[in-house]
Structures are given as structure tokens and as C-alpha cells.
């Protein structure tokens, strides 16, 4: 673990608020110049993790290492880390120039150098000529750029981004994703990015850290977490998944819905109960006789690129994404290639996700008076 290249390491971090564990034994190492995303639903502890790295919060137990040194109680103003806040937190009493120059002025950098570096920053974020503009007169996208400039002008070793794109509309968000990635490459600094948007996480990151209930569920490359999720939570949170109960008969042989399928997974006990993940885009709809499994179409939604088809197989509803149209009530066969199957060990999340007979959890919670829906912030 203690690799020389690791710029930041969290070791067994635990944090509780009012007796409730917000972070439960988090360990994570981050290499220099890496783009790492902390991904998870609201309340999963991702923002708390970020605040510990920023220095706004001290862990109850565990250690934070920066360049190999413990920095648990080093205050935020002494860390070589800068943050882009969720709602930017630009100073309303200062103009664009003074906001960006803030950090350098604190460090008493000579005026000429400040001027030159602010100009460079404005160029970097495409806001030349905005120096005198007041913060109140900027759009959300422009404020975002000022926030980026204000943070990176200090040449931090690590830049922390707390859901920085959440307030932007879809088009601008996509553009900013590309731009942030470019800025990260150009400046060569480590980015730790917090989001609940899985698509954002997959498209931008070198490494994705999936979190839930204060625990790290999975650390891996975007491809890893998508193709080889460790449990039902990860499989469901990243993209759409059909998660079916199965039994591992032998290496490369899994039985679901009474049918034995070929797969590429091995190393399980004989007849071990497992969760089987099959992504909706990996299922082909064929004539019932040609399919491995048969079912009935219960819903068809046209989404432009493809159709989203729900197929009822013995009461379990599969989601299938295909460009071939079906009609509700059609009997269809499902064809699954061995490489489309991913086998996971049973976990506490087994059975909670991956069936499309109901709406999403969020949708269920909205209509449930017993559930108090949490705020976006942790």
C-alpha cells in the first residue's frame, strides 16, 4: 500500500455524527495525477470523505497521509489542497479578479506576479476580460469557471471537487466534463471528484470509488466497476442491471431460471448461490424457440437510440435495451452470450436490486410517508 507514488492515503478512517457512523473504516490510496471519483447516493459519505481530505473535518479514528506524512489535524489553510465547492462559494463582495487572486494575496505573492497569474487563469477557463465583473452578474457556468480558476491558481497538489457540475444544465454539464478533464491533463494535478452521477464518474475518471452507507463498496477503473461489479449495489448503481438469483454448478456453468448457461467466471464452490448480473444491452431478443429463456413483453419505451423493453420471466422482470421493436404481450426468447454474464458472490445487497417490476428506490420513497427523504448534501 505504501507506494512512493501515492500522494494521498486514507487508512481506516471512521467518522460519526451524533452517534451515527458516517464513515465506517474507509481506506483508500490515490496516486499522483490521478482522476479519482467518489461515487454514491446522497448520504453515502462521499462529501464527508472529501471534507476530511480538505481539512474541514478530523476523523474520529484512522489516519490521513499526504506525501507519506500524517496530516490528520493539519488545518485546511495549511494543506496543499484546494476545493471547488458545491455551490462554488465565491466571495460575493469581491469581483472576479479579486476572487481568483484571493489565495495568492493571502500568501503575499508580489502584485505583478498575481496579475500575471490571474490573467493566465482567466485564459485557462476562457473568461478573459471578466476581471472587473461582479460575481452576482455571472451565469452558473461562468461562476463555475471562476471557482476553478480560484482553486487551481494556488497550484495545489490535489484539487477536490464537490459535485461541481450538479447545478449546471445537461449540455453545459457535458461540455464542462470534457473541459475539466482537459484542465486536469494540462495542469497535471490529482483530481478527487465527488458525484452521484454514474455517467459522469465513468466518463471522466481513471479510478472510481463506489460508496454506500459510509463504506467503500468497490474501487476500480470505470470498466472494472461497470463490467465486474462486486455486489448488487454496485451493479445497480452503475448503469442498469438485471440481477438474477443463480447457482454456480461448476466453473463456467451457472444455472438461472432453471436453465444452465455458459459463463466466463470460475472459482466458486460447487452449487454456491450467487447473484448473476446481465446488462440490459447484452441481451438479444429472439424468437421464443431460439431463446435460452422465454418471457412476455410487458412494456416498451422508445428512447431514441434504442427501445427499453421489460420482459416478464416467471414473475421476474428483465430490462432489455435493443434496437428491435417488440409489442406488449409478445412472447419472446432471450439470448445471452457467455461474456455478457457476470457472477457476484451473495452480499447484504442481494435481492434488493436488479428487478424492474417496480420503480426505482427513490420513486418508492417519494410515495412512502414513513421515509424521510434526505437532502442532497451529506
Amino acid at each position: 500500500m505504501s507506494n512512493q507514488k501515492n500522494i494521498l492515503e486514507l487508512k481506516n478512517i471512521t467518522v460519526s455524527f451524533d452517534g451515527e457512523k458516517v464513515l465506517d473504516d474507509i481506506s483508500l490510496s490515490i496516486s499522483d495525477k490521478e482522476f479519482v471519483t467518489l461515487l454514491g447516493p446522497s448520504g453515502c459519505g462521499k462529501t464527508t470523505t472529501l471534507r476530511i481530505i480538505a481539512g474541514f473535518l478530523e476523523p474520529d479514528s484512522g489516519d490521513v497521509f499526504f506525501d507519506g506524512k500524517i496530516i490528520n489535524s493539519l488545518p485546511a489553510n495549511k494543506r496543499n489542497v484546494n476545493t471547488i465547492f458545491q455551490r462554488y462559494a465565491l466571495f460575493p463582495h469581491l469581483n472576479v479578479y479579486d476572487n481568483i487572486a484571493f489565495g495568492l494575496k493571502v500568501k503575499k505573492v508580489p502584485k505583478d506576479e498575481i496579475k500575471q497569474r490571474v490573467e493566465e487563469m482567466l485564459k485557462l477557463v476562457n473568461l478573459e476580460g471578466f476581471e472587473k465583473r461582479s460575481i452576482a452578474k455571472l451565469s452558473g457556468g461562468q461562476q463555475q469557471r471562476v471557482a476553478i480558476a480560484r482553486a487551481v491558481i494556488n497550484k495545489p497538489k490535489i484539487l477536490l471537487l464537490d459535485e461541481p457540475l450538479a447545478a449546471l444544465d445537461l449540455k453545459l454539464r457535458k461540455d464542462m466534463q470534457v473541459e475539466l478533464k482537459n484542465i486536469q491533463r494540462r495542469l497535471g494535478i490529482t483530481f478527487i471528484f465527488v458525484t452521484h452521477d454514474q455517467e459522469e464518474a465513468l466518463s471522466m475518471s481513471d479510478k472510481v470509488v463506489v460508496m454506500n452507507e459510509g463504506k467503500i463498496q468497490h474501487i476500480g477503473t470505470p470498466k472494472d466497476v461497470y463490467n465486474e461489479p462486486v455486489n448488487a449495489f454496485v451493479a445497480d448503481f452503475i448503469g442498469e442491471s438485471n440481477i438474477i438469483d443463480g447457482v454456480m454448478l461448476d466453473d463456467f456453468k451457472v444455472k438461472i431460471e432453471g436453465v444452465t448457461l455458459q459463463c466466463l467466471d470460475k472459482g466458486f464452490k460447487t452449487n454456491e448461490a450467487v447473484d448473476v448480473v446481465i446488462r440490459p444491452e447484452d441481451v438479444d431478443i429472439v424468437h421464443p424457440e431460439k431463446g435460452l429463456i422465454t418471457g412476455e413483453v410487458t412494456s416498451v419505451t422508445f428512447l431514441g437510440v434504442h427501445f427499453e423493453i421489460i420482459v416478464d420471466v416467471n414473475g421476474f422482470k428483465w430490462m432489455i435495451q435493443t434496437t428491435d421493436e417488440s409489442k406488449v404481450g409478445d412472447k419472446v426468447g432471450l439470448l445471452i452470450e457467455p461474456d455478457a454474464i457476470h457472477i457476484m458472490k451473495k452480499s447484504k445487497y442481494s435481492g434488493l436490486y436488479g428487478d424492474y417490476s417496480s420503480f426505482s428506490d427513490e420513486m418508492d420513497e417519494i410515495s412512502n410517508p414513513d421515509v424521510e427523504i434526505e437532502d442532497e448534501e451529506d
Binding site: 480538505a54 485546511a76 484546494n82 476545493t83 462559494a89 465565491l90 493571502v106
Partner: protein
């Protein structure tokens, strides 16, 4: 059309009220200022004003000192209030406001029992064989009285503007390397300026025009313009001069408010003229 006539109807009582109780008295004050005992136009009262220059100056200096002291007490107080737990905060607001429920005269009068020769403070010093000191009847006593009476009007607006500061702004300042006094100077102070301006106005204006406090806690040497105006009106023949002094005081206060408002770009806390 219907809506605007309705609005007019609703506004009518307020306009009438303002006319009767604000505009008319102002006109009467102005009338008294510019007439003699027989009701003829005269500048006689105005000519007398320079004689009261000293007392005006004293009032302004006292009010200025009292405002400065209240500010120095209130700002850190409000700051630590916002740092406290929510429950403690509401408790503290209660305690700050509690004296305001009592009459100003009683509050001031009770200070005489604290400050007089046989009062609480001198009795305490007496235990050690010190004193009695001459506390009452001094300019210090007058200023203490004003600070005590007007403190809540400074604490509350500052507290309000301070508790409205977005916590992430303070964190952003820390994140950018700022700490301690630097953070206060660069972020907290500018963001609470509207509250400070509002507090200064709310303490300075009543202080400069106050009466009774100087009368009870001071001596003839510490008389303030408010007391002078009251005395002039007590004796009927001088009401003209009293009116003229009031007019000048009003103009002075107006100038102060306009001056203060220049600092707070019409933001919330500030008082709009």
C-alpha cells in the same frame, strides 16, 4: 384598474396616518422655529442656535463614543453567539432582548443606584476601604447609560447578518490559505458590514438625541441636546428655540444616515432613508 383603486383604498389609512402624525408635527416644529411668541415670521430662534454649538458638539461626541463602545462589545459577542449551539443561541437572543421589555426610564434609574456614592459599586470598594468614587454625574456615567440602553440595537443586526453568512464562504477562505484575523478581515467583516452599518445607525441616532439618561446619570456639565430641547419646551416662552434645536438635530441625523448608507450598497441590513 380595479386592482390599483383597491390598492389606493388599502393605502389610504396609512397615508392619512403618516400625514397626521408625521408630516403635520414636522410642519408645526418648522412653524415654531421660524416664528416669535406672537406668531410673526422671525429668524430670532435660528440666530440663537450658535449659542448651543457646544452642547451639540458634546452630544455628538458622547453618541460617537457610546456607539464605538457598543460596536466593540457587540461584534465579538455576535460572533461567539453564532458559534454557539442553536439552543444556546436563542437563549442568548432572549437575554439580549430581555432588558428591552423594561421601560428606558426604569433601566436608567436603576443605574443611579449602581453608580451613586452609596451605590453598589462604591459599597463594594468600601469593603476594601477604598472610595467612595465620584461615579455618578460624570460623562462616563452618561456614556455607560447609553451603551447599556442601546446595546441590543447593535448586537441584533450584527448577529443577523453574521448568522446569514454561508458557511462554505468561510471554508473557502480557509481552503485558500486564510486563517484567524486574515479571515475576519477579508471575508467575515465585509460580509457583515450591512449589519454593522445598521447597528451603528440604530445606536447613534437615538444616542445623539437622547434625553433623561444625561439628566439622571450626568450633571449640568454633561447635559445633552435632547435634555436641552426638553427643558426649552418645559418653559412655554422658549418653545420656539426648542423647535429650532429639534430642526437642526433632525438635519444632523439625516446627514449621518445618508453618510452611513453610502457604505452599505442598499443591501438588506441598511436603513433606507
Amino acid at each position: 384598474m380595479k386592482k390599483s383603486s383597491l390598492t389606493k383604498l388599502i393605502n389610504a389609512p396609512y397615508i392619512l396616518w403618516s400625514a397626521i402624525f408625521i408630516v403635520v408635527p414636522l410642519i408645526i416644529v418648522a412653524y415654531f422655529s421660524f416664528t416669535d411668541k406672537n406668531g410673526n415670521f422671525s429668524l430670532e430662534n435660528i440666530y440663537e442656535i450658535p449659542d448651543y454649538g457646544g452642547i451639540f458638539l458634546r452630544s455628538i461626541i458622547y453618541a460617537f463614543v457610546a456607539t464605538a463602545i457598543t460596536l466593540v462589545i457587540s461584534y465579538p459577542f455576535a460572533y461567539f453567539m453564532t458559534k454557539a449551539k442553536v439552543r444556546t443561541q436563542s437563549m442568548m437572543i432572549m437575554l439580549v432582548m430581555l432588558p428591552m421589555w423594561m421601560n428606558l426610564l426604569i433601566r436608567t434609574y436603576s443605574w443611579t443606584t449602581i453608580l451613586e456614592k452609596t451605590g453598589i459599586i462604591n459599597s463594594f470598594f468600601g469593603l476594601f476601604g477604598l472610595g467612595p468614587y465620584n461615579l455618578i454625574g460624570t460623562s462616563g456615567a452618561v456614556i455607560v447609560g447609553m451603551v447599556y440602553n442601546y446595546l441590543p440595537y447593535m448586537i441584533l443586526p450584527i448577529y443577523t447578518s453574521m448568522s446569514k453568512i454561508d458557511k462554505s464562504l468561510v471554508e473557502a477562505a480557509e481552503d485558500l490559505g486564510s486563517s484567524g484575523f486574515d479571515k475576519l478581515k477579508k471575508v467575515i467583516l465585509p460580509l457583515t458590514l450591512p449589519g454593522v452599518i445598521s447597528g451603528i445607525t440604530m445606536v447613534f441616532v437615538p444616542s445623539v438625541s437622547t434625553f433623561y439618561i444625561a439628566d439622571k446619570l450626568g450633571s449640568t456639565k454633561t447635559l445633552m441636546i435632547g435634555d436641552m430641547i426638553q427643558k426649552k419646551f418645559d418653559i412655554n416662552v422658549y418653545s420656539g428655540i426648542g423647535a429650532a434645536l429639534s430642526l437642526v438635530l433632525m438635519v444632523l441625523i439625516l446627514i449621518c444616515i445618508v453618510f452611513m448608507n453610502r457604505f452599505s450598497d442598499n443591501d438588506d441590513g441598511g436603513i433606507i432613508v
